[in-house]
Structure formats: structure tokens, C-alpha cells
């Protein structure tokens, strides 16, 4: 895109600046629209599984429900508890929301469509997602209220625990792809199984990694069945208890943005990202643009997330910690050894 702006007669730096700005808008605006629609989809899927109708009043099939909700919270009064720490209380939702948007910078939407094609893309995502915990912890502390504080403690323990095993899972992927760059990781998955399938998930050594990554990503985004941070039977609404109006909406948007990001990561790291699932040109699907494949995969994973939310009961907190530290951590560590052992034997020679 920089070249396009340069062809309009700008200097390189202005063209770069404008191209980056346009890229940010091109990602952030559809993402916000997507989050609004995905909230609607989540409610519809959940309702269908509970034999209800879900939102069906606002707009055709209730499609405009999220926008109506958005307008409602926008017009609400922002209530700031008098005993709260005002500055931090307002900064916390902004952190959550910003961090969610920042991580999308390195997601490859197509072979050429990446905002920041950096060498350490995967590390960048790990770094940014580790920032996400601050939005919750600061909210819990600044609210100056018991339930949000408990929720903040739960959230940080949960996110740190699962980040450890996610880190090991990602090490396996990086070892196989031989790069931290997300585009290189996608391209390493082309024709992975005898040149037929695109995706690390079809690899017997990496398939268990994908299952663990899917579960860990649910825990990392605090979705049901791991939504202990806002367990309404125990903590009212968790760290969001004291929030109202737009500050609350920012948490809501950030949460679903994170879920979409985790779905995108599932697609990019294990299911071949923007590549079609089969690497055979029998059906003319190499003509389908890569972004369509990526979006289809993201929607598929979001359906799995909704499905799990609608059917699986909430975990107990000690079960959550046990799963993270006693099951996923040793297992993923074992697979790091297994994958590097296999690669040492086959790819790099003994």
C-alpha cells in the first residue's frame, strides 16, 4: 500500500505513514463491526442450543440487536464509585480494549495483507496478550470493592497459568515452522501431510497441541467453562461489577475481540491460516481469496467456542488450576521434547 501512496507523488515517509494509518483503520473498523455481529451470533447460537429464540426484535432476525445495545450503553450515565481510584478506574477498560486491537497488527489476512510483517510476530502476540491481564487487575483494584478484587486475583492467576502452557504449545509450532513470523508459519503448513493437506493440525505430533491450545485459549479469554472471573453465582459480575455505560461496553468489546483473536490464532497456527484446507486443485478453490478462508476458519472456531459455552458447565477454581499446572504444563513440555526429538532425527540429521 505504501507504493500506491508513493505513486500519488508523496515522499516515502508520508506514504508509509498514510499506508500504516489506512491499514490500522482497515483492520480496526471491520473488527468492531465483526465483534458486534459475533455477539449477536453468540447469543443466537446459545439460544438455539437452549431451545430459545434469542434476539429477534431489533431489525430483521434481530440483526441490529448489538447496535441497539451499543447505543443504549453509549447514552447511559457513567457512574464512578466515589471510593474508587478515578484515573485508574477509567484507564483499566481502555487498556483491555487497546490491547485487544494491538494484537491484530501481526495477523496475516492474506499472503500480502499484514499490517506489521515482523520477524517476532508470535512473540509480539504473546507479549501483547500478557498485557491483557492489567485491564482486569487494575479494574479490580481501582474499584475498591471486594468482588472485583477477588475477580482480579482469579483473572491474573488464571491468565498467567495458561500463558505458560500456551508458550510451550507455541514453541512446538515454532520448532516445526522454523520461524516466529506468522506468515512464515502459515506458509510452512502448505502441503503438510504428503503435500495434500494444509495445516499443522493434521500432524499426529501437533494435533494434541491444537486440542490443548483450543482449551487454553478458552481459559485465556475467560470464556465459559472457564469464566470464573465473572462467575455470577459467586462474584456478581466479577471485575466489571462497578462499571457502567461505555466503560462496561469497552470490556464487552475487548472480551469478544480477544475471543476472535484466539480463533484467528487457532486458524493461523494450526489450520493453515489463509490457505485452503486441501492442497489439491481439483476444485477451483485456489481462486478463492485467502481472507475468505481465514474468515471461514475464524467463524468455525467461534462456533466451537459458542457451542462449548452453551453446553459445558463452569469449572471449579481448583479444577482450573489443576488442569493448567498439572495436566497441560507437563503434557506440553513433553511434546516440546517429542517434537524437537523428531525434528532432530528427520530434519536436522542425528
Amino acid at each position: 500500500m505504501t507504493a500506491f501512496f508513493q505513486s500519488l507523488g508523496m515522499t516515502y515517509e508520508w506514504a508509509w505513514f498514510l499506508a500504516t494509518f489506512a491499514g490500522i483503520l482497515l483492520i480496526a473498523l471491520p473488527l468492531m463491526l465483526g465483534v458486534a455481529m459475533i455477539i449477536y451470533a453468540d447469543r443466537k447460537i446459545w439460544a438455539a442450543m437452549a431451545l430459545r429464540r434469542g434476539p429477534n426484535v431489533v431489525g430483521p432476525f434481530g440483526l441490529l440487536q448489538s447496535f441497539a445495545d451499543g447505543l443504549k450503553v453509549f447514552l447511559q450515565e457513567t457512574i464512578i464509585p466515589s471510593a474508587s481510584n478515578k484515573g485508574l478506574f477509567l484507564i483499566a477498560p481502555i487498556i483491555t480494549f487497546t490491547v485487544t486491537l494491538m494484537a491484530w497488527a501481526v495477523i496475516p489476512f492474506n499472503s500480502g495483507a499484514i499490517l506489521a510483517d515482523i520477524n517476532v510476530g508470535l512473540l509480539y502476540i504473546l507479549a501483547i496478550s500478557s498485557l491483557g491481564v492489567y485491564g482486569t487487575v487494575i479494574a479490580g483494584w481501582a474499584s475498591n470493592s471486594k468482588y472485583p478484587f477477588f475477580s482480579a486475583m482469579r483473572a491474573s492467576a488464571q491468565m498467567i497459568s495458561y500463558e505458560v502452557s500456551i508458550g510451550f504449545i507455541l514453541v512446538c509450532v515454532v520448532l516445526w515452522a522454523d520461524s516466529f513470523n506468522l506468515k512464515a508459519i502459515v506458509e510452512a503448513q502448505e502441503g503438510h501431510v504428503f503435500g495434500l493437506l494444509n495445516g499443522f493440525v493434521f500432524n499426529p505430533l501437533l494435533f494434541p497441541m491444537w486440542v490443548m491450545f483450543l482449551i487454553s485459549s478458552m481459559a485465556e479469554t475467560q470464556r465459559a467453562p472457564f469464566d470464573l472471573t465473572e462467575a455470577e453465582s459467586e462474584l456478581v459480575a466479577g471485575y466489571q461489577t462497578e462499571y457502567s455505560s461505555m466503560a462496561f461496553a469497552l470490556y464487552w468489546l475487548g472480551e469478544y475481540g480477544n475471543v476472535l483473536l484466539m480463533c484467528a490464532l487457532n486458524a493461523v497456527l494450526f489450520w493453515g491460516g489463509y490457505l485452503p484446507p486441501l492442497n489439491v486443485d481439483l476444485i477451483p478453490w485456489f481462486d478463492v481469496p485467502g481472507i475468505v478462508w481465514l474468515l471461514l476458519k475464524i467463524l468455525f472456531f467461534f462456533f466451537i467456542f459458542s457451542w462449548v459455552k452453551a453446553t459445558v458447565p463452569r469449572y471449579r477454581y481448583d479444577q482450573l488450576m489443576r488442569l493448567g499446572w498439572k495436566v497441560f504444563l507437563p503434557l506440553s513440555l513433553f511434546f516440546v521434547f517429542a517434537v524437537s526429538f523428531y525434528l532432530m532425527l528427520t530434519r536436522y540429521g542425528a
Binding site: F17, D117, L131, V133, Y134
Partner: protein, 206 residues
């Protein structure tokens, strides 16, 4: 141009937040300023082309160490007045540490003959943001030339890990709160409940 602007933004914010770590009255605010300082330092490293170190700084310090700091500060009920009372007493010591660090930095810069740092460019021509990056170089050096030092650092970390477990582990005989997860999972509704339909006025015997 953009790089120079970014450099001054990161550098000024790093210095400012570093000063505010010391100056803010609330310890929680101090930790948050510290996090901002880490973050800006990471930005400076990206500008200098050390993107791997920058990401590690954010992951390790911001993502893990600072969270623990924040927790300790939030959970402890710290008396702010008492904290500030010791400020004058400890100021010379702090100044001494600062001077020592400054001298060390100067020695490294002067003896190491460090030249000016090339700031990265958007197209990655000056600093290797694309292609041959410093991730590979650091990995190759760590696992070949410095392998023994690297292993030694690993052993030191392992020992401290075990030490932390030993220091905090307490065998509590009083509370037997162990969960037998396999038993919990094996429990079925039939084992726990019994459905009875008593005649009216009879009741059930438990």
C-alpha cells in the same frame, strides 16, 4: 523522521515514568509507572533493531514480574506516611547505587567503543526487522559459543526454583483438603441420588 520522533517519544516517556516510579505517593501507581517504563524501554530496543530482546522484556518483565509486584503491593496494606519517612535516611544509599550504575554504563560505553545506534527504518533496511533477524543470531550464539554459561544460568535458575518451593512448602497435617479428582470424575448421578415415590402420608426412611 518517524524513527527520530518515535525515539524521542519512547525516551522521554521512559525517563518520565522512571522518575514517577520514585516520586508517586501511591505504591500501586509506582508499579504502574514502572510497567510503562519497561514498555518504553522495549520500544527503544525495537527501534535499535533488537526486537527479540524487546519482546522478551515485555513478556518476562511486564507480563510476569510486574504482575507479581502489582499483586504484592495491592495485597499488602502499606502505610504511605511510614514509607516516606524513611526517604531522607535512604536517599544517600539510593544515590550511591545510581552513581555506581551510571559509572558502569559509562565504562561500558567508553571502553566498548559503542558507536551511535542505527534506528530502524519502516522498510527494515537499517535495522533487520525482516529477513535475517537477531533471534537466529542470539540462538546460534547461546547454543554454541556460550553453551556452558547458558547451562550454568539454567542450573542457577533451577536451584532458585527448588529453593523457593522448599522455603514456602509447608506440610499441613491439620487441614486435609486434598481432592481426589479421579473419584470426583467417576461419580455418577446414580451413585449420589436415589429416586423414590412414596405413597402419600408414608414418607421415606433414609
Amino acid at each position: 523522521m518517524i524513527q527520530v520522533l518515535a525515539f524521542y517519544l519512547f525516551a522521554c516517556l521512559a525517563v518520565l515514568s522512571g522518575a514517577l516510579v520514585v516520586l508517586s505517593r501511591n505504591p500501586v501507581h509506582s508499579v504502574l509507572w514502572l510497567i510503562l517504563a519497561f514498555f518504553n524501554a522495549a520500544g527503544l530496543m525495537v527501534l535499535a533493531g533488537a526486537e527479540f530482546i524487546a519482546m522478551l522484556l515485555v513478556i518476562v518483565y511486564v507480563g510476569a514480574v510486574a504482575v507479581l509486584f502489582l499483586f504484592v503491593v495491592m495485597m499488602l496494606n502499606i502505610d504511605f506516611a511510614e514509607l516516606r519517612a524513611g526517604f531522607i535516611k535512604n536517599a544517600p544509599l539510593g544515590a550511591l547505587v545510581a552513581v555506581v550504575l551510571l559509572v558502569e554504563l559509562l565504562v561500558v560505553v567508553i571502553l566498548g567503543q559503542a558507536g551511535p545506534v542505527t534506528l530502524g527504518t519502516p522498510d527494515g533496511s537499517a535495522a533487520p526487522l525482516l529477513g535475517e533477524g537477531n533471534t537466529e543470531n542470539i540462538g546460534a550464539l547461546l547454543y554454541t559459543r556460550y553453551i556452558f554459561l547458558f547451562e550454568l544460568a539454567g542450573i542457577v535458575l533451577l536451584v532458585s526454583l527448588i529453593g523457593a518451593v522448599v522455603l514456602t512448602h509447608r506440610e499441613s497435617r491439620a487441614i486435609r483438603a486434598h481432592q481426589n479428582i479421579a473419584r470426583q470424575n467417576a461419580r455418577r448421578p446414580e451413585d449420589a441420588t436415589e429416586l423414590k415415590q412414596p405413597e402419600s402420608g408414608k414418607g421415606v426412611s433414609l
